[in-house]
Symmetry: C2
Subunit: 456 residues, 2 copies
């Protein structure tokens, strides 16, 4: 056993105590009454970084919650520089009465630490700090240059992060980026996330008459905007799931055989999808497996519909307005702006007679994010995971969007690799969040082996 | 001038004073605090009928607001018996501050009586009582047998009327029925309403997953119920307005040349429809004029849409449920039950994959009502109107439904004829309701001439 690993083992009780102390801070970024707690968590992180031996540990203000940066850049000119990302804010803990133990009084049971943020992302972001310390305390140095970049507003969508990154690119320059906010597929089954989907959000509003009309007095004489909206929506995506917006798939790079084989290995059987969602059957774009559709093909989903009378019973109204909220998840080279324009043009071209339709953007955008094949940092991470778990990581993709990954790519020009040790079953945004302490320990070794591997 | 007409002229000031007294009673059937006022109006009507010379004038209780019946059956065995319908309840008057004079302190301005219910239907139902009195006070008899049937719950949909009519059919037996609750087309332009549309109300609910899902986690994998609903709705009626439900038009009797010619004479230009509604263009079932579509062809209108997120901005949800409220206006021999079944079967047959759809009925039903061609009572009414106005009545139809017309037809086997003297511009359900006093007077003569005409 290496000295740094021995250090990790010997100090594990202290590290767990520190994670308990960190998790006890109610750093809920969504709630104004916790602003000081988010700041206290930032201070805790900066102090812990300094204690670990990091330099320039500092809390940086933003227009909202703060950011913490630190570095150690003494590995020598030939060693790569890595940036490690994570976040110290947490989701709200409500409803409190569903928690077995109080969310901000973390408690160990069954080898797990229970508390809000234990898994997302306080356990995750503490891991690389501890590994970093173990190298400095035993070897006096690290094989790579390290920068730390921790934020306090991930759970509210990081509204102030892009301007911070743009203004402080010098603090964040790195050859590779690793996100300590991430999941393994399942206990015992690691994964490398190769892609995240992008996002565009929009709303279609159809106007018929200027106000709601009596359906008996004018029905049959003028168009019904709710029916017109139904025709528009039905024209965007067919019953089988193919998106029929002209040009929608133009910038989608076809899945190659290697990607399809990798996705086929992801154990997400239809039975599990149906059990988890209660949907009566899988559904989606013809010609692709469920895994391919969820993880690697673009989507168009209606998020909401509104028109006319929504109370109980009958109101014989011919509504003035009907609207639909829509989000598209994007892949490959699809651009939110281009897809919005394609939908806008499609709706304009196919608007049924007797109404007017307008398409507007709603908040929320993200470019698709895909790690290039043969990406060095991903390969290194995969090798480390294979060694530690004794099994090759699944090559997965995520149907959701993580805007910070795109922000880092756009601003720093570096594809981040997710290298975290949480799991999807750990109630990340629900009551009774927990973090597996054996994965907390395994993650520390993983980061150490990653540092060594990257230095080669 | 006949004696009865002379009597009407001489007593007109008293009649107007009586209409003011009647209109001052706040008999709002929708409001629990006005229950006693509705009863007071019933008592006023019964007393007024007795004073006019009617026999057996009595207030009958129902499960809700009362009914008033009376009769005079001494015209002899060869004379026909007519039933006159009207209602003494009124719409709520809110918002009070939009009234120029208080709604229950009726006031004469510009030859009109302003007050809630003056037009709908207190002025209308008082007219035949006054004419009835004028015959008895001058000639000691009427040329026809007369029954009166006035209700106190028309403005809330007459929920207790069908059981009353069924239980008291003996009080209501008649050869012809005239409704004193009705409109002329415009001042100076009479109309005969030949048909009213029926109604069926239903709701389509589409279920996808059991609860709302994250559109990034499962989008592309399972069907979106809002999209499926859009496909279902688009399949019920095409963009041009043709209803595509299998069997929907089966029981619609084609418009004959005579009916089309009559509807073509109804002066309802598209410009007026668009100005009144603000719709950008007329729209509807191909092959029919706007008048034909509004007045004489069946419709299918979406009254409301509900699904998923309806607040501001974006919520990336794949909803569990999507629903649409629908009403169809029916004509000819269409049955609400059969049309409901046709839509239910259509939705069941065409439900897109990956969701389940259910179709349920909502409250509200009416059979279509159409006066048969050559109907005696209609012909008599038309002749009287032609004589009084110096212009033939338009033969119109109404896109809305008046369930009491169907109730009387179903229970008594008689088609009612609308013979009222209000107008659509008299703010019937709005602030500043008024009734034209010249039409109040003309209506009295019209009922007298009708009595005489029916005795021939």
């Amino acid at each position: 056993m290496t000295a740094w690993e021995d250090y990790l083992t010997k100090n594990q009780d202290r590290f767990i105590a520190e994670l308990i102390e960190f998790t006890a801070i109610p750093s809920v970024s969504a709630k104004p009454e916790n602003i000081a707690d988010v700041r206290a968590a930032a201070d805790w992180v900066a102090a812990r970084l300094t204690a670990a031996g990091a330099e320039h540990a500092q809390v940086y203000p933003t227009a909202g919650h703060p950011v913490v940066c630190a570095d150690w850049l003494h590995a020598g000119p030939d060693a790569p520089t890595i940036l490690i990302y994570g976040h110290f804010d947490v989701q709200p803990a409500e409803p409190f009465d569903l928690w077995t133990s109080p969310p901000f009084q973390p408690e160990i049971r069954d080898g797990k630490l229970w508390g809000r943020g234990a898994s997302d992302d306080k356990g995750g972001m503490l891991i690389p700090i501890l590994t970093f310390e173990s190298f400095l305390k035993t070897e006096g140095k690290l094989p790579v240059n390290v920068r730390f970049f921790f934020e306090g507003q991930e759970e509210i969508g990081s509204p102030d992060l892009l301007p911070f990154v743009a203004a402080h690119a010098d603090l964040l320059q790195a050859d590779m980026i690793f996100s300590a906010d991430g999941l393994q597929w399942a206990p015992g089954q690691p994964q490398i996330v190769e892609a995240l989907k992008g996002l565009v959000s929009l709303e279609i509003t159809v106007q018929g008459p200027r106000g709601d009309q009596h359906s008996g007095m004018v029905g049959g004489g003028i168009a019904n905007p709710a029916l017109a909206l139904a025709h528009i929506l039905a024209g965007l995506r067919n019953e089988q799931g193919l998106i029929t917006v002209e040009g929608f798939y133009d910038d989608v790079i076809p899945l190659d055989a290697d990607s399809r084989a990798a996705l086929a290995r992801v154990p997400y059987p239809d039975d599990q999808l149906l059990a988890e969602t209660g949907a009566p059957a899988p559904w989606g774009e013809p010609g692709y497996s469920t895994q391919e559709r969820i993880f690697a093909r673009p989507t168009l989903d209606i998020n909401g519909l509104t028109s006319g009378w929504q109370g109980a019973g009958t109101k014989t109204v011919l509504p003035a307005l009907a609207s639909a909220k829509i989000t598209c998840r994007l892949v490959s080279a699809q651009s939110p702006e281009k897809i919005f324009e394609a939908i806008r043009a499609h709706v304009e071209k196919h608007c049924p007679p007797g109404v007017t339709a307008t398409v507007t953007r709603n908040p929320g955008r993200a470019d698709p994010f895909q790690v290039p094949a043969g990406h060095n940092a991903s390969s290194a991470a995969a090798e480390v995971l294979t060694e530690l778990y004794g099994i090759a990581p699944l090559r997965t993709r995520v149907g959701g969007s993580i805007p910070v990954m795109t922000t880092l790519l756009d601003t720093l020009g570096v594809h981040a690799v997710m290298f975290g040790f949480s799991h999807g079953d750990e109630n990340l945004h629900a009551p009774n969040e927990f973090f597996r302490l054996d994965e907390f320990r395994r993650g520390q070794t993983a980061y150490g082996k990653l540092f060594e591997r990257l230095a080669k």
